[in-house]
């Protein structure tokens, strides 16, 4: 039985909003992540999707403890990260790594590939000075970069190659969990596929757990075992990737899936689309009840009254909608 390597329990991350020029007063908060409960199994690829501003990156940064949490807990391998001491946290950092959308911003432009990869190895005492060379070469080969590029700087590489360097750096400490925040969004389709193949291969080969954030559902469908759909700081649907994307149950997931253009003129021109009206609402002042109700084609009075909980919606599936039975 595989166990949960990572657990989020009612995690909340709010950003205070201050107004006032001389005397700053907190007048509200951005509820970027607002009550997320989620278990991630060892070796699993969990896709996290949702519109811009729904809190995907904030959730990622919360998992890595890069932002202070407002409430709830993040448990890695049975250890509550919120209560970990500095030394414990240092050890946990090795197990938990992040890859960002823009590899250019996350790599130091003045460090060669060699230096960028050697640094974490030496800082965390993974190997001694004498073995660094061979470790770095091994890492580069792992991500499909020729070791002869070791002395080059990030700007001398293409976007896809830079993302490979960022992945190699994340792998240097042999982490158990990698959180990848839109790692292929900035890349061209043909390069995207290379990076996705690499990530898939690494996950299987090293039994890595991957949390893969993206807004492209077809990419998420391809790489993930399970998918979590976020809307305004909350998870509204969760389940096996193929079920959620091919047979969505929450009205928001339905709209999201329906908005993806199908690359086939015969289908694309005749299929029925759900076009949502309006923009996502503000996380500062979310709508009462179900946050999706102002845009939901199925909303009724009851939807405005209480925040719907995630409830079972088929094998291994959950969705946060009180009308699931009535609308399917």
């Amino acid at each position: 039985m595989t166990e949960n390597i990572l657990e989020l329990r009612d995690v909340r991350t709010h950003f205070p909003i201050f107004t006032g020029f001389l005397v700053k007063k907190q007048t509200g908060s951005v509820k970027a992540v607002d009550g997320v409960t989620l278990s991630v199994r060892q070796g699993e690829v969990l896709g996290l999707v949702g519109e811009s501003g729904c809190g995907k990156s904030t959730l990622a940064r919360t998992i890595l403890q890069l932002v202070p949490t407002t409430g709830g807990m993040v448990v890695l391998n049975g250890r509550n990260l919120g209560e970990a001491s500095r030394e414990e946290m240092q050890l946990c950092r090795r197990d938990l790594q992040m890859i960002f959308q823009d590899p250019y911003a996350s790599l130091n432009p003045r460090m060669t590939v060699f230096a960028a990869l050697a640094e974490p190895l030496l800082v965390h005492g993974i190997c001694g000075k004498s073995e660094v060379q061979s470790h770095v070469e091994e890492l580069m080969k792992l991500v499909g970069l020729a070791p002869r590029f070791a002395r080059k700087y990030p700007h001398e590489f293409s976007g896809g190659q830079r993302q490979r360097i960022a992945i190699a750096r994340a792998l240097a400490l042999k982490p158990k969990v990698i959180v990848a925040d839109e790692p292929v969004s900035a890349l061209d389709v043909s390069i995207q596929a290379q990076i996705l193949n690499l990530l898939s291969e690494l996950c299987t080969g090293m039994n890595l757990t991957l949390i893969f954030i993206a807004h492209d559902l077809s990419v998420v469908r391809h790489i993930s075992d399970r998918v979590a759909v976020m809307y305004l700081g909350k998870i509204v649907e969760l389940g096996p990737a193929l079920d959620v994307i091919d047979r969505p149950s929450h009205p928001y997931t339905k709209a999201l899936v329906s908005a993806i253009p199908v690359p086939n003129p015969d289908i694309e021109r005749t299929r029925k689309r759900i076009v949502l009206a309006g923009d996502p609402p503000s996380p500062i002042d979310p709508p009462e009840g179900c946050a999706f109700h102002p845009r939901c084609p199925h909303a009724v009075d009851r939807c405005r009254q209480a925040v719907p909980p995630l409830v079972a919606a088929g094998p291994g599936r959950e969705a946060a909608c009180i009308r699931l039975g009535e609308i399917s």
């Binding site: 061209d188 043909s190 596929a193 993806i260 253009p261 690359p263 015969d266 076009v275």
Partner: protein, 336 residues
């Protein structure tokens, strides 16, 4: 006669690091009311093609080396500045990927919306504001009377994109050039904007050049599709032919790389090698170094783009000789 017909356009950039052949002999035409999709990877010259037509190439370092762009009998690349001004911004409009590049952050939307009207038409300010309000409504911005006085930063990304579309359409252009207008947006907002462009196009009968790298968008929107690679056109055909019966290996490779068309659990198809470096002179076919069908003759000389069937042209010598048939490797039915 087509509304716009571009012939042998070459736009090069003369930089300190060398000569970039960004657009290297591109020809195409657009009929009234028609939608032409331009697709291709990053750096293939899609934007530079549009900018050349719109007179937006920075010169230097850019230079239009050759070609013509005939719009309703006028060559946009050679006409007098006054003639060009009377066409661009009025009869041809452009929208950009990032709305902030064409919106002035310090001016209210109302000022920016009426500006093209005040320049190109003899309208009073009041009449112009009336037209601006109508346009806000047409692009789906509610409460226009109040929001027309907002500054750009007071709108969300999707709303700004709508404002920009309103601005581009307010002069009722005959041709709209849209350079990746939805790439930065969420799919839900993209669906709204595409619907909007479709409706307005039908109502106004305008022609559209739609630049994108998303083949899905092309499938739903475009009549004709042009595939670019390394500053050249590889293939042009009707949308259905591009998907169901492509002739050029690059078109097929591009299609095969779409994750949605590939079965889950298998390795994704990738095009080997790296995108072309347009600062190096390419003697043969630009795609040959990455093409799994390439033979010696592909590298020997640059293939011409030739019509193989009415409305379908491509630049693959081997396909033309009947040596390869890439269409049989493409099966859009596989979509699940």
């Amino acid at each position: 006669m087509p509304l716009l017909s571009v012939t042998d356009l070459r736009t090069y950039f003369h930089t300190r690091n060398g000569l970039y052949r960004a657009v290297d002999g591109v020809s195409f035409s657009v009929d009234r009311g028609e939608t032409l999709g331009i697709v291709g990877e990053s750096g293939s010259g899609k934007s530079v093609t549009c900018y050349s037509i719109m007179g937006l190439i920075p010169q230097p370092p850019g230079r239009i080396e050759s070609g013509s762009a005939m719009f309703d009998g006028v060559d946009l690349l050679r006409c007098s500045p006054a003639t060009a001004r009377s066409i661009r911004g009025k009869r041809i409009s452009m929208i950009f990927q990032d709305p902030m590049t064409s919106l002035n952050p310090y001016l209210r939307i109302s000022e920016q919306l009426i500006e093209p009207l005040m320049i190109h038409e003899t309208l009073s300010k009041k009449e112009a504001l009336g037209r601006a309000l109508e346009m806000m409504e047409a692009v789906g911005i509610n409460d226009g009377a109040r929001r027309i006085h907002y500054y750009p930063h007071e709108f969300s990304g999707g709303m700004r994109q709508r404002v920009m579309i309103a601005m581009a359409l307010i002069t009722r252009p005959e041709l709209l050039i849209a350079d990746e207008p939805t790439t930065a947006l969420d799919v839900t907002v993209q669906a709204q904007i595409l619907d909007l462009i479709r409706t307005l196009q039908r109502d106004l009968g305008m022609a559209v050049i739609f630049v994108t790298h998303d083949l899905g968008v092309v499938a739903g929107l475009c009549d004709q599709v042009q595939v670019m690679y390394g500053g050249r056109v590889m293939e042009t055909a009707g949308a259905r032919a591009i998907f169901n019966a492509p002739q050029h290996p690059y078109t097929q490779a591009l299609q095969r790389s779409i994750p949605a068309l590939q079965p889950k659990g298998q390795e994704l198809f990738t095009i080997p090698g790296l995108p072309p470096d347009v600062s190096k002179e390419i003697t043969g076919c630009a795609f040959a170094p990455r093409c799994s069908f390439a033979a010696d003759l592909c590298r020997a000389s640059r293939p011409e783009i030739v019509e193989s069937q009415p409305g379908h042209s491509h630049a693959c010598i081997r396909a033309r000789r009947g040596e390869i048939n890439v269409a049989e490797h493409c099966s859009p039915e596989n979509y699940d």
